[in-house]
Amino acid sequence: MTTILSIKDLRKSYADGFEALKGVSLEIEQGEILALLGPNGAGKTTLISTICGITTPTSGAVTVGGHDIQTDFRAARRMIGLVPQEIALEPFEKVWNTVRLSRGLFGLSRNDERIEDILRKLSLWEKRKNAIKELSGGMKRRVMIAKALSHEPRVLFLDEPTAGVDVELRKDMWEIVAELKRSGVTIILTTHYIEEAEAIADRVGVIDKGELLLVQDKDTLMAQMGKKHLEVMLTEPIQSIPDSLAAHNLELNGSGDALVYTYDTNADRTGITALLNDVAQAGLVLRDVQTRQSSLEEIFVNLVSGEPA
């Protein structure tokens, strides 16, 4: 595999002393899809903005296809397509002209067939003569993607691409991403949706407080995702877990009125039936039962902090 994007000790500090990136290092292989997860303000957008040239890094090095983003910015940026989180389009301009502008800005000659192809794939062809202000939010999001694809990028950044879009568009997006991957495009996306990372990512990275906590293969991640918590709430608090329930790997919550059972949803037997039987046998009276699945971010942040997910 060839490394297409290399980030070495990338730092970004602002005048007020805030460190948005604290030495991020990452290598991304050509043709892979990396999903970046992290809470709001974690540094995901700053990382993308710095690579794309919108924000100037304080220190560190980034190369795209071997081209340094500062000393060889033209060659580096030509390879990059960016779909930012916020929809930013000139409202009075037509769809066609808006997309055409992007292709021109990146130094490519006019190619109406290419733009037509992109607009058709994004279901925008019928809207090509419409002004941007006449489009729905979902359509505007498609225009943002069309602009990023118009200059045939080799590396595509999608910053929260499906935030606030309907299910249909999300599915369309995943199909587009899959097709781009087939054509060899490397994709880095930020997302809050577990199913999005599950559906399309090869690797998942977690960033928090400007630090890349870890980057992990999706399959390993999904093994973590298979775990679920069953909370058995009791009518009366107990001091400790009865010995007859020791085999069930239970935890008692802080107030002693709930037993937390962690199980694997992918396993043939979850052990829930046996647990509930044994709880009844132990003479404990149930008040309520509920299940909770750890979020992707929760799992990784907790893994790193050493706390259970």
């Binding site: 919108i54 940026r77 502008l101 992007s102 021109g104 800005l105």
Partner: protein, 253 residues
Amino acid sequence: MNWSAIAAIYRFEMARFFRTLAQSFLSPVLSTSLYFVVFGTAIGSRIQEVDGVSYGAFIVPGLIMLSVVLLAISNASFGIYFPKFLGTIYELLSAPVNFIEIVIGYVGAAATKALFVGVVILVTASFFVDLRIQHPIAMAAFLILTCLSFSLLGFIIGIWASNFEQMSLVPQLVVTPLIFLGGTFYSISMLPPVWQTVTLFNPVVYLISGFRWSFYGMADVPIGLSLLAILLFTGLCLGIIGWIFKTGWRIRS
């Protein structure tokens, strides 16, 4: 040079102009006509001639400069401020373009629009007064240089501005008074000696004087000085823009 990017920016900016072509055309025609009715007729009846030129014809260069300067500033400031306001500047900053290409695209389009309006005013004025242009090449050069230099100033204002109010601050509070006091409607030789000296500190005097010279061969200040003034102004604006893009002031965090 990324000529494709320059063309793309220029074309995109000109599209905004063509969307409102009727307004772009009618507005200067109407305002020029009004100036002739108000200033040409009312004041012209009292001032018959200035240095052998009818008052109506005398004010034409100043009228053109008035509109061209203000339009160049507003076109260019709006052109770069709007992407900042909408957030579309992300694309400009992430594209393989340098500041020279961005400036050529935006300033070129703003200057073209201002030039168009200047020509419209010139043609409109020819219906009201007997115009003669003694130095057509110098006239064209002055007009184009004015369009370019004040578009550069507008570009700086557009980058500096944080809101729409700030965009109109400089044109309204600084540039318009300077133009009105810069000999648009009178020759500075008509002023008392003290005010003549004070007026020479107004840079617009050199602009209007030089432009008027290209029409009628008469000038308040030597033509070489006028040319030097506008070239210095252009150089200063270019220097500021170069610094802006080098430091990323107000555009890149």
